[in-house]
Structures are given as C-alpha cells and as structure tokens.
C-alpha cells in the first residue's frame, strides 16, 4: 500500500517529465517505423520479383536483428554521434526485418492463378502491384508492421543510453538508483504504449482483405501524425553535458550540481559506455564520469576539482554476507590481502589496460597480483563455492578477477563468478537474496543510494571518507547482515570531466569555474 502511494506521488510529481518522455518515445518509435516501411517495403517488393536476391537480403536483415541492441547503439556513435539520430537508425534496423519479411511473404504467398489472371487481363506490372499484390498482402504486411512497432517500443527504451531520450531515462535511472517507483514510471507507460499499439494495429490487421483499402489510408496518416509527435530537444547553453541515468537522479550528481553549485548546463542522458567517446568526439563538452576510468587516460581528459565537495568518497571494498564470514573466517583474511594496495592511478591504469588496450580482465588482474607478490596458483579446492557478483562495467570485472585469484590461491574454496549483474540495485538485491556471496561496492554508493540517510546525516559526514566508511559499516551490518571489508585504497568518485584542450583554453579548473563560465556566456 505504502509502495503504491509513493508510486502515485512519484507520478504526480513527475507527470510532466513522463509525458515528455512518452512523447519522445512515441516519436522515436514511429519515425523509425516510417523509415523502415518506406525503405523496407520497396526492398521486399524487389526481392519478391527477383527471388534470387531474397535469401541474401533476408539474411542480412536477420543478422541485423541478432546484434544486441546496446552493441548496435555503440556502433552508431562514430557514424551518427549521440542523440536521436543514432537511436532512430538503430530502431530502423530492428524494424526492417519484420517489415521486409512479412511484405515478401505476403506478396509471394498470393495464389499464382490470381497474378496470372491479372496479367492475362492486360494489367501492367504497376497495376498488378498496387491493385492486386499489395492489397492482398496487406494483412500480412500489417502483421509485420505490428511486430515492428512492438519491438520498437521495447528497444526505444535503450535510446536513453545515447542521449536519445524516451522512457528509458526513467527505467535505467531507476535501476541505477534502486528506485522502484522511477523504474515503474518508465516501464508502465512503455508497456501501455506497446499494448495499445498492438491492440490498435491488431484491429486494423483483422480487417477482411476487401477492407484493407481503409487501412491503407488510415495507417500512413496515423504513422505520420505519431512521428510528428517528436520534438527535437532544443539546445540551451553553448556547452552540452552528458550524464548517465544514475548521475541524473543522485543528490551527489546532477541534483547536487544544481543545488550546491547552481550549475545550469544543458544536459542529455547517455550511457556511460558511450559517454567518454562522445566527449572525445566533440559530441559533448562535459560529462559526469568516474575518476578512475581508463578512458581518462586514453582520451586525454581532465577532471574538474569538486571545490564544494558534493561528490562523496567512493572507496571500493568487498561487500560480503556476514554469515558467510563467520562460517569461513579465512575468507576475510584472504580478501584483506588486497586492502589498501590499489591506488587511484593504479586503478586508472588497470582500467586503461582493459577498456582501451582490450586486454582481458583476467590477464590484467593476474599481472597486477604478480607485481604485488600476491599471486598464487589455484589450489583447486572444493571446500565450498564462493559466488562473486559484479556490476556491468570494466573496473568491477577486474576487481572480481582479483578476488577470485586471491580466494582460489589462498584457500580451498572454489569460485563462481556472476558477472554483469546490471547496476547497484541488481547486485545488492542478489546479495541480500543469497544469490551471490560478495561483490565490490563503493562506500558512497552504499551510503547515498542504498542507505539514503537523512540530509542532516549526509551533510555532517560526507566530506570525511572515514566517517562515511564507519557509517556504512555499522548500518549495513545491523540492517542487512552484510559486512564491508577494508577498502582497497582507490577512490572511484564521480567527477566532471572535459577535454584537456578545452579546459586549458577556457581556464577551467574547478566546477565553480565551469559554473561561472556558463553564467557569463549564457
């Protein structure tokens, strides 16, 4: 009941944003659909005439469909930058297969006697196509458009990863922030859109063949109108910032920048997977990134000093289930071997090796441990299996590998890694539900995202890393039965980043400098 009320409150509070995102979502879905129909239908007609091309074309379209959507989005950045254009291109590719395949099947499925009669009566090729083939194939073509629409409503949520907007902003923001209401505020409208469009298109599709004349008229108009829903976001300030969904909703992120610094910069929501590259390629000017990210080094980026301390300390430490530590005390000792051993620059370098030099996390972790004299051959014991989880980004993969090698080398446990558990919420839920035994977590995240203490507490201790660590240690132990082991040394905090040359050209060193620059030039 409480949950429902607060969802209702969330919806009331953010209805304008939800409406905005829904409109963008509808626009993205239908612009791409329109393109897919305009381009896909002629292709389908062509391959229905030249059957020897059919296998190749359908094959290529099918391969497009099998590329994971996030990967496809990634491929689009170098070609189309970030924002709505690459999102529409990706959605277009996804819509293409059902449209080509159904149009092709619809046309080739027509009784040969009917085509023969049409030709025998003296209809031209064009007349046969428009008066016979398309009307008769229409129910099947519509089924393809229906499939494509539902696929697009779903895939369009991913547009939020590359600053394309849409309901994905709330969904991914909510997942990252452990905010169920936010997830639902995005997911429910998305589901309703899918159901509504499916229902309406189903109605049109079930028309008898002779009724398709109407459908042929109504559908293009509807699609055009719905495409028109889309309003391209207008640029505000001359500098454009890109923030990932999690950053957008956090008090130690975008909200803090607004309240503490009064920073009013135009911003778009974007996935951290493509954010750095977008900055490097001049698609963005400022991003909210992680201070140990390897791409800082690769793309020659600098961080702006947080002179008013809104970014809390993010010291990484293993977060472990307390009952497991009691059962196997040697586990704690083993994991503490790495405590304080990884500095900021060391972590940035490790990230650089995996993210940029594309070396495997396993190799990077082993070399690091060897250099520190901590590497031991696995004992291949089978005393028990320790399940290690990790969030879906590079640094966590490296830390997971380090934990695994330490445990396998120093104890008789075997290790099972469950990598790529999405964001904080998924990892934390997996841990409390006994799906995993430990994962690397950051003190600031535990403090602000999971515990969410009152503002007075936050303000009083946030600037002191030790206070924050002690606070999360005590609270996690009593609330969740989880133990924070000793931090590994580095502080992977949020930071605002810019291209080195921009920062020095504009003489920006701190976030306050940035704020003053924007206010002056706005």
């Amino acid at each position: 009941m409480n949950e429902q009320q607060s969802l209702w409150q969330f919806l009331l509070l953010h209805w304008d944003k939800i409406l905005d995102q829904t409109i963008t979502h509808i626009g993205l879905t239908f612009i791409s659909l329109l393109l897919a129909v305009i381009i896909g239908t002629p292709i389908a007609i062509l391959i229905a005439r030249k059957r020897n091309l059919a296998a190749a074309v359908l094959g290529i379209a099918a391969i497009m469909q099998t590329i994971p959507s996030v990967a496809l989005l990634g491929f689009m950045i170098p070609l189309f930058g970030i924002g709505t254009v690459p999102a529409i291109v990706v959605l277009f590719f996804y819509a293409l297969l059902p449209i080509i395949r159904n149009t092709f099947t619809g046309i080739t499925g027509i009784d040969e006697a009917i085509r023969d009669a049409a030709k025998g009566m003296g209809m031209t090729d064009k007349q046969i196509l428009f008066k016979v083939e398309i009307p008769l194939a229409m129910p099947v073509i519509l089924a393809g458009i229906r499939t494509a629409t539902v696929i697009n409503v779903g895939v369009a949520t991913l547009a939020a990863y590359i600053a394309g907007g849409g309901l994905g902003e709330f969904i991914f923001g909510g997942i990252a922030l452990n905010n169920t209401n936010m997830i639902l505020a995005g997911a429910i409208p998305a589901a309703l859109l899918a159901i509504t469009f499916d229902f309406l298109l189903g109605k049109i599709q079930k028309q008898k063949p002779e009724g398709t004349g109407k459908a042929m008229l109504v559908l293009p108009i509807a699609v055009l109108l719905l495409s028109g829903f889309y309003i391209i976001p207008s640029a505000g300030t001359n500098l454009l910032a890109g923030f990932e969904p999690e950053f957008m909703g956090r008090s130690d992120g975008y909200l803090g920048l607004k309240s503490r610094y009064n920073l009013n910069i135009s911003s778009v929501v974007i996935s951290d997977a493509v954010m750095y590259e977008a900055l490097y390629e001049n698609k963005l000017d400022v991003i909210g990134g992680y201070s140990t990210d390897g791409r800082l080094k690769a793309y020659d980026l600098v961080t702006l000093r947080d002179d008013k301390t809104i970014f809390p300390p993010y010291f990484a430490a293993p977060l472990v289930r307390t009952d497991l530590l009691k059962k196997y005390p040697e586990l704690e000792a083993t994991l503490n071997l790495i405590a304080g051993k990884i500095t900021d620059s060391a972590m940035t370098d490790l990230n650089y090796q995996t993210d940029i030099l594309k070396r495997t996390p396993e190799l990077v972790a082993r070399e690091f441990l060897k250099a520190k004299g901590l590497y031991k051959r696995p004992q291949n014991g089978n005393k028990a299996t320790i399940r290690i989880g990790c969030k879906i980004f590079g640094e966590q993969y490296i830390l997971t590998e380090i934990y695994r090698m330490l445990i396998e080398g120093n104890t008789a446990f075997s290790v099972e890694t469950k990598t790529g558990l999405g964001g904080t919420k998924i990892c934390f839920d997996a841990l409390t539900n006994n799906q995993i035994d430990l994962y690397p977590e950051y003190t600031g995240t535990g403090f602000l995202v999971i515990l969410q203490p009152p503002t007075s507490v936050v303000d009083s201790i946030i600037s002191d890393p030790d206070d924050v660590f002690r606070y999360v240690q005590t609270e996690f132990s009593s609330k969740y039965g989880l133990t924070w082991l000793k931090p590994m040394g580095f502080n992977n905090t949020y930071a605002l980043m810019m291209r080195q040359q921009d920062a020095s050209a504009l003489q920006l060193k701190t976030i306050t400098d940035l704020k003053n620059y924007i206010d002056k030039n706005d």
Partner: protein, 320 residues
C-alpha cells in the same frame, strides 16, 4: 481469326512446344487436347504472350500479335483460367469490370454491361453484384470468371481448362450452359483441355498434341473415324464408341436417315438436327418412342437405333 505459324518455345534446352501451326476461323472453337506436358497450355499462353514464343508468329485478325505491347494485346483477348483467378478482394461486379476499366469505359456503360452479363449467366445482379468470390459456389465462380473474360466484348477467347476445377455434375451442367450462350457462339475460341469428351462436345476442331507438337488437327469426327498414326488411334482408346456417338450430330448422318411416313408425323417424338447421336440414343433406349422425327430445311425424316448403327458402319467405311 487466329493464325499460329511455326510457334516454338524452349525452356533452357528443352522444347516445350515445337513448330506448331494452326488456324482458327472466326466464330470457330479450336480445342487443344493432350495429356499434361503435351505443350497445349504453353501454346495457349503464347497466343496472349503470357509466355513469349522463342520463335514463330501469331496473327490475330490479321495483326501481328508480337508487334503489339503485351498489355494492349491481352486487353483485347478474353482469358478464362482453370482456378478462375478471381480477385478475392474485389466484388463480383468489380471483378467483371476490370478490363472495361483498364480500357477506360464510362462508368454507366460498365455497370450496364456487368448487369447484362450477370443476367445472361443466370446470376441475379441484385443478389450477386456485391458478393465476394469466396461467397460463391465453384460453378458460380467459374461463371463470374467467364463474365469477366467477356466483359469488354473481346472477339477472341482463350480458355485454359475452364471446367477443370469443377466436380463432374457441375462441370457438365456449366458446359451445357456455356454451349447455349449466344455470346460464345460468335467468339473465336481456343480452349485447352485434357478431357476427350469435353473436346468432342465443345470443339469445332480438335488439335491433338503430344510432346510439344501437333499429332492431328481435324473435326472431332475426323479424329475419331480417321485417326492419323498410332498416337491418335490410341488416344481415344476404349471410349471410342461412346465418343463417336457424342461427336456426331444428326446432320452428320442426314443422308442415311429414312423419309418419314405421313402417319408417323403425329405420334412420334421429335429431335433437333443438332442433337448428338448420344443424346438420341439415350432418348430411344429409355423406354420411350422407337423412332424420332427430325426436320431439316423443309424435309422431315425419322431416326431409330437401327438407323444410327447402320449409318455409323457406313460412315466408317467411307472415312476409312
């Protein structure tokens, strides 16, 4: 009239039709008869160029068919298919209007023509105009298919197994209906069938084909009574006796009929001079009259079972 000269069609290296020539006079029906693979359908489809000939020529009413744009040619030739090929998304009236619309007829003219054809084919325009093909029986669909082919008054009609998809009962009744249709009597028709009986009943001439070439062309009687070569002889096989009866009409044996005695004129039943011997045979053997009276020009004669068999014997002697 249609003139086909040395028509051949090769698919890759294999010849589907080899050097076929025939002529169909105005108002005449030529039946292309043969088994499947004999090349009869390919020959038919080369006349309206649904298949382009590899070599040879087709003249329609003196005009070279290969010199015209294919669409223009086809609009002047009625085309009836085995599976009727009606457009499922068009009503009966819309289906019939297709060619007149392509030819740019006035709306009122088209409507009147559709009504006329429906009446002629015993489909009440009020009831059937707005039905869709799937709401019709197989026989009704075939009639609409014929109406569609006739809509623009083409002088020539091509029919590809027009009754092939119908059950035997519907088939013979529709066939009778077609035979009686005035419009069809004036048309120059080329029809494809593999049904010997149909060929004999409908064809003024039969063109018997096998392996892509013509084995014999002639009237049904000529093919039956005077087959050229083994193929023609064997083709009619065991049905020959019945087919002979079906292909001959009373006029064909007129000289062998006996003059009618005056007292017979009143009591006896009558037969039409165009009835086939098969029809007469059935009436005479059904326990009815022993003799039937036939009139031709101003002459009256009688026909009986005995006369029929005697004349057949004599006829064979002459033709052989």
């Amino acid at each position: 009239m249609i003139i086909v000269q040395n028509l051949s069609k090769f698919f890759q290296q294999t010849a589907a039709v080899k050097n076929v020539s025939f002529e169909v006079e105005q108002g005449e029906t030529l039946v292309l008869l043969g088994t499947s693979g004999s090349g009869k359908t390919t020959t038919l489809r080369m006349i309206n160029r649904l298949i382009e000939p590899s070599s040879g020529e087709v003249f329609i009413n003196g005009q070279n068919a290969l010199a015209l744009p294919a669409e223009v040619l086809r609009r002047s030739i009625g085309y009836v298919l085995q599976n009727n090929g009606l457009f499922p998304h068009y009503t009966v009236a819309e289906n019939i209007s297709i060619v007149p619309k392509l030819l740019g007829w006035e709306k009122n003219t088209i409507e009147a023509r559709v009504r006329e054809l429906l009446v002629e084919l015993h489909l009440d325009p009020k009831d059937y105009s707005n039905r869709y093909p799937r709401e019709l029986s197989g026989g009704q669909q075939q009639r609409v298919g014929l109406a569609r082919a006739l809509a623009a008054n083409p002088p020539i009609l091509l029919m590809d197994e027009p009754f092939g998809a119908l059950d035997p009962v519907t088939r013979s009744s529709i066939r009778m209906e077609f035979l009686r249709l005035d419009e069809l009597k004036r048309k120059t028709i080329v029809m494809v069938t593999h049904d010997i009986e149909e060929a004999c009943a409908l064809g003024d001439k039969i063109c018997l084909m096998d392996g892509g070439s013509i084995k014999q062309i002639g009237t049904p009687a000529e093919l039956l009574f005077n087959p050229e070569g083994d193929f023609s002889r064997d083709f009619f096989g065991s049905d020959r006796a019945v087919l002979e009866m079906k292909s001959l009409r009373i006029t064909n044996i007129w000289p062998y009929l006996e003059s009618a005695e005056p007292d017979l004129l009143k009591s006896s039943g009558q037969a039409d001079k165009d009835e086939t011997l098969w029809m007469v045979l059935q009436r005479l053997s059904a326990g009815g009259p022993q003799r039937l009276l036939v009139r031709k020009d101003n002459e009256s004669k009688t026909i009986s079972l005995e006369i029929i068999f005697r004349s057949l014997k004599q006829l064979k002697g002459i033709l052989a």
